[in-house]
Amino acid sequence: MLKRAHEHKEIDVAAFADVAFLLIIFFILTTTFIKPAGNRLEIPSGAPDPAKTETKQLTISLTATEIHYGPKGEKMTLDELRAALWQCNFKARPPDRRAVIVESAPDVPYQLYFNVVMAITNADGVLAIVEEEKGAGR
């Protein structure tokens, strides 16, 4: 009969750690870290107050390519609009007088709308979302 020396048997696990760390490196390198950029919108809530409907609110009208500002519908570029909104000094106004109504034609691309909304929020204005009554024409 063969006599064997009592050997201490061990499985080599060194490669196990290598594989795990390679996996970590793979995940770190293939991960895309997303930091979203944007602006929070402040939207007035609730039903319109009939007592305040007489207050003149600033209106901006948009067509597919143009911006019209104020009651006279003055045509403006985006930079001119930003300057005009800053001059309104919304920060000094009470919250109910910061609202800016944006009227949009159906074909206005989101890029233009986005720029106008950003200009309003950066000037401390509040975007007023106007809901047309059902059955009412534009």
Binding site: L23, K35, P36, Y110, M118, N122
Partner: protein, 132 residues
């Protein structure tokens, strides 16, 4: 005089290193937020004065064809209010990320603003800084 003993090979025990590495993998996997809407192709709008903001778990998207997506699932615009209100019901943070393609027409995205406003959401418009 000292007698020389048998030479014992020096070994560093590295069995626990694998355990640590796998624990790290599990930690990263559990703490990662996977993008639910990687399949939604969007060309985001740009603006010059746009800043980094807090990420929200709720997102509404719209592609340039006017198809709306809620949490990465296609969703008719008319039921976004209901869906978002249900998602916001048990949350303190009412922030909803709104991602819309720059070419989407107003007749499509205008309704989303109304729906989110009615659902009581705080809207965060997502775009890109102009220099990117």
């Amino acid at each position: 005089m000292l007698r020389r003993g048998r030479r014992i090979p020096a070994m560093v025990p590295i069995a626990s290193m694998g355990d640590i590495a796998f624990l790290l993998i599990i930690f990263f996997m559990l703490t990662s937020n996977f993008i639910k809407e990687a399949h939604v192709v969007l060309d985001r709008p740009t603006a010059p004065d746009i800043e980094e903001m807090k990420e929200s778990q709720i997102s509404v998207s719209m592609d340039k064809e006017g198809q709306a997506w809620l949490q990465g699932e296609p969703c008719p615009v008319e039921v976004i209010e209901e869906g978002v209100a249900a998602l916001l019901a048990d949350r303190d943070d009412k922030l909803v990320m709104l991602k819309i393609d720059r070419e989407a027409p107003h007749e499509a995205y205008g309704e989303i603003f109304l729906q989110l406003s009615r659902a009581g959401a705080e809207i965060a418009l997502v775009g890109l800084p102009e220099n990117e």
